[in-house]
Symmetry: C2
Subunit: 118 residues, 2 copies
DNA sequence: CGTCTATGTTGACGTCTGTCGAATCAATCT
DNA sequence: AGATTGATTCGACAGACGTCAACATAGACG
């Protein structure tokens, strides 16, 4: 495998019907698993939650980097979340701001829908 | 809609407020990440989806073990899903049946709730 | 009892992942 | 320009993870 992470997941293309609808195909599972894997680390989950819950919908790295690991590690995890299509980043002057990729929460929620809604 | 005379907190359930409500603590993230990590593997995701979408709500290993890996590997992944509190298993005669741990989908969904549905 | 089928467990091996320190890039301030 | 602060990249290393073959266990059936 040349590319370790594969192409980034585009927003809105999370694929796949709800997990309860039918068994996922190999390719669907590959795509969806990338998102869950990104959330499957405590540090990343805290970073994601910090961004998601930040007033204004975005946070600069300096605001969320107090998660008990070094700054390079924070940067590494933010990159992973970005590659998974969960976060987007933008540099404004000195600081880099991260915010949720729009729709991701709903997408994942739909994947886990047990058929209740609608 | 929490029950007024709420029943005792069930053990093994998911913890944590929605990710968007406030930054997760280290311990909360540790707990929640375990679930996402369990779903963060393509094979496990397929197994989980196969069980979740199976008529009757349960499936024996023989019904879902065609995911392209060896039988020991399937067994290993089912164990991981069980340890993460996502699946439950029961032996009935020759076969072992797996089904969703009740409420898990809703729990994870609540974690990802963006505040819309209520 | 012995054997066959269905699952789970063990041990080993290569790969992926999380982590850090050091170096590097980016923008601001004196 | 040089110095300072914020953020990413690089290089390296320990530990976790996915995988399989071989072995072990559980129940069914003759």
């Amino acid at each position: 495998m040349p590319s370790p992470a594969g192409p980034p997941v585009e927003a809105g293309t999370l694929c796949c019907p709800p997990l309860t609808e039918r068994p996922l195909s190999a390719q669907e599972a590959e795509t969806a698993a990338r998102v869950f894997k990104a959330l499957g680390d405590p540090v990343r989950l805290r970073l994601f939650s910090a961004v998601a819950s930040h007033p204004g919908g975005e946070a600069c790295v300096c605001d969320i980097s107090d998660v008990g690991v070094s700054q390079p590690t924070v940067s590494h995890h933010l990159k992973r979340l970005k590659e998974a299509g969960l976060l987007a980043s933008e540099r404004r002057g000195t600081w880099v701001y991260y915010r949720l990729e729009p729709g991701v929460l709903a997408e994942i929620g739909r994947l886990l829908a047990s058929g209740g809604a609608a």
